[in-house]
């Protein structure tokens, strides 16, 4: 039905042709309410002067750890949140001035969504959401059935949502985002916590959907480097609300191709991980650019990623490790990944949360002095801390 597919818009300003998303110096500061830990409240800078341009038809990835500001950016672009300063345009429409114009063209899916009213069936729930976009019944039901088949949920179309497993629920939410046939689709960590097969199905779905009609644009956020690498035309690396690099995955990796990326598995005799001080000492070795650590509680070992100026620095690094009383179990030189790019830019792995940016500090690298949460390297080595770290890492370690 053509009327329900029609969209209405007024252009407020001339826009560069072919840009689906554009931000100008976009910043967002949250005023966090008083709490016991922060008796006077605090300011969190979630986005800090972001400039982005995403072309129509592009599958654009935003790669960054938890707390980097990815969701905040998506919320601003989808009119759920106002920027503190700067501007943002979706399909050339200013998100702050004309949210209604934007809403007609977009849709969002976020991975953590719990989604839907339990007493509705999958099909009914999806139909309900399609109605909020004015899609006619015939088109909506048609799309629902087709897309449920694509994600392998066709047999559960009549199942009540309260009876769905988490994975099924997430697939359903995923389908919801496509029902209105948006021009710009925001996918906020859509595969968060999903098993490998399901995640793969969804990624394939996105690619096919993009190919179906040129001009469709997807902005996808993730903290899984493989996802960004495999899926996206271009990737922006974001940390602490800043875009640190933006290019195709291949060019990003080429940046560090001349350097050596080493993956080492180490353990210490007392079973503990590495402390922040240990890492700093390793970084001081000649020829060592960056070292980041990820504690693997199930193995009782730490996986180190080291970026070296050249192969010649390897003996120095290994010497430094034995100097710290660590046993090296394996050492491999690897092709650089997007994660290595991130490590090089930030000095942390993607699995570690962004330390809170209070806005008072302007340091890009290293931890903030004082109150920021500690970087999650398992230094404490006691059972509970290790278990906690393990749980946090679970999804990233897939």
């Amino acid at each position: 039905m053509s009327t329900s597919e029609t969209r209405f818009q007024v252009d407020h300003r001339p826009r560069p042709a072919g840009l689906a998303i554009r931000t100008e110096n976009l910043s967002r500061v949250f005023q966090v309410r008083r709490s016991r830990k922060w008796p006077r409240g605090r300011r969190v800078v979630a986005l800090d002067g972001v400039n982005l341009e995403v072309a129509e038809g592009e599958l654009f990835g935003l790669l960054g750890p938890n707390g980097a500001g990815k969701t905040t950016l998506i919320k601003i672009l989808s009119t759920l949140l106002l920027p503190t300063s700067g501007r943002a345009f979706v399909s050339g429409i200013d998100v702050a001035r004309d949210p209604f114009g934007v809403k007609q063209r977009i849709n969002i899916v976020s991975g953590g969504e719990s989604g839907g009213y339990g007493i509705l069936s999958v099909r009914e729930s999806l139909w309900m959401f399609s109605q909020l976009y004015g899609v006619s019944n015939r088109i909506a039901l048609d799309r629902i059935d087709r897309m449920l088949k694509l994600v392998g949920l066709e047999d559960d179309a009549g199942t009540l949502i309260s009876k769905l497993s988490t994975g099924m629920r997430q697939k359903m939410n995923f389908v919801r985002g496509f029902l209105s046939d948006p021009d710009v689709l925001f996918l906020d960590e859509p595969t968060l916590g999903l098993d490998v097969t399901t995640a793969r199905t969804l990624r394939k779905f996105v690619r096919e959907w993009m190919a179906e009609r040129p001009g469709r644009t997807v902005l996808l956020t993730t903290h899984y480097m493989a996802e960004a690498d495999e899926l996206c035309d271009r990737v922006a690396i974001i940390d602490r609300g800043r875009i640190l690099a933006c290019d195709t995955p291949a060019s990003l990796k080429r940046q560090i191709a001349r350097q050596a990326v080493l993956r080492l598995e180490v353990s210490s005799s007392d079973g503990a991980g590495l402390s922040q001080a240990d890492l700093a000492r390793l970084k001081d070795q000649p020829g060592v650019r960056e070292v980041a650590a990820r504690w693997r509680p199930e193995a009782g070992r730490t996986v180190l990623t080291a970026i070296l100026e050249a192969d010649g620095a390897i003996p120095g690094l290994v010497g430094g490790l034995s100097g710290l009383g660590l046993v090296v179990h394996s050492l491999a030189k690897e092709e650089p990944t997007l994660e290595d790019v991130f490590v090089k830019l930030v000095g942390r792995t993607l699995a570690e949360d962004t330390p809170t940016n209070n806005g008072d500090h302007d340091s890009r690298n290293g931890t903030l002095p004082g109150d920021g949460p500690e970087v999650g390297v398992g230094g404490a080595g006691d059972g509970e801390a290790a278990a906690g770290g393990g749980a946090a890492d679970e999804s990233a370690a897939r």
Binding site: Y117, G118, L120
Partner: protein, 294 residues
Amino acid sequence: MTTSEAALEGKRRTAVGEGVRIFKMAAWLGWQAESNWTDPWLFVIYSVIKPVAGTLILVLMFAVAGRGSAPELFWASYVGNAFYIYVGQLLWGISWVVLGDREHFQTLKYMYIVSPSMGWYLVGRAAAKFFVATIAVLIVLGFGAWALGIPVTVRGVDWALFWPVFLLGIVSTAALGILLAGVSLISSNHGAMAAESLSGALYLLAGVVFPVDVLPGWLQPVSLALPHTYWMEAVRRAVLGHGISPMLQQVSEGQILLILALTTAGMVLAGGGFYRWAETLARRRGLIDQVTWN
């Protein structure tokens, strides 16, 4: 039974200490959730405004239609109504633990992971509710004595009768609450209304504010099978010195205590048993983390 379930079962039997730990934690949690004493406003809502407003409804009904009736009838209704606050609060409180945690915070599944049995957790949450209700009851009784001339005094109470009766009544109410929690566990959001509805039905069947004698003949046996009927009657006798029902007048205090003890035991068995069954069913069908609201 799978091995892990068997292990769980073994743990459950040996883990009385664990149960006590969870009880304490739940009581503390309930304390935080339901009677946030650092917030006087919440205290006023739950311990003063709600109970007093509910009481005033009764007072006004007597005022519009009660001219010419004996004051004893009003007193007895008033005292019954006051103690009935426990029923409303405990039923609502205990079943709401399941619904609120499941639907709105979606934390119920985590409770299941840390706790071998939800039973202790529920009892702990109920303890917090009990304290809130006690203060409300005291306020309502005090208000009645001070403003409405209801002859309730500390000296006048037959404490020897009061304490055992009171204890049994609370236990049977908590047991009913646990039964209701079982219902909530395997049913949908409508369970929230169920607490409200059940306490309303008991209000009728237990003759809280009127003599059970006025109930139709076929309903009276139901009424006489409920512990709450005897609880209300005995509490009135202990507090006021007289009951409300001519029919129950023929039953002596000793007999009432005996019947109350027996019906309470029945309620505990029924509540605990049903809850266990519901919990097993919920685990088997994976209903613990269902969200059913609309």
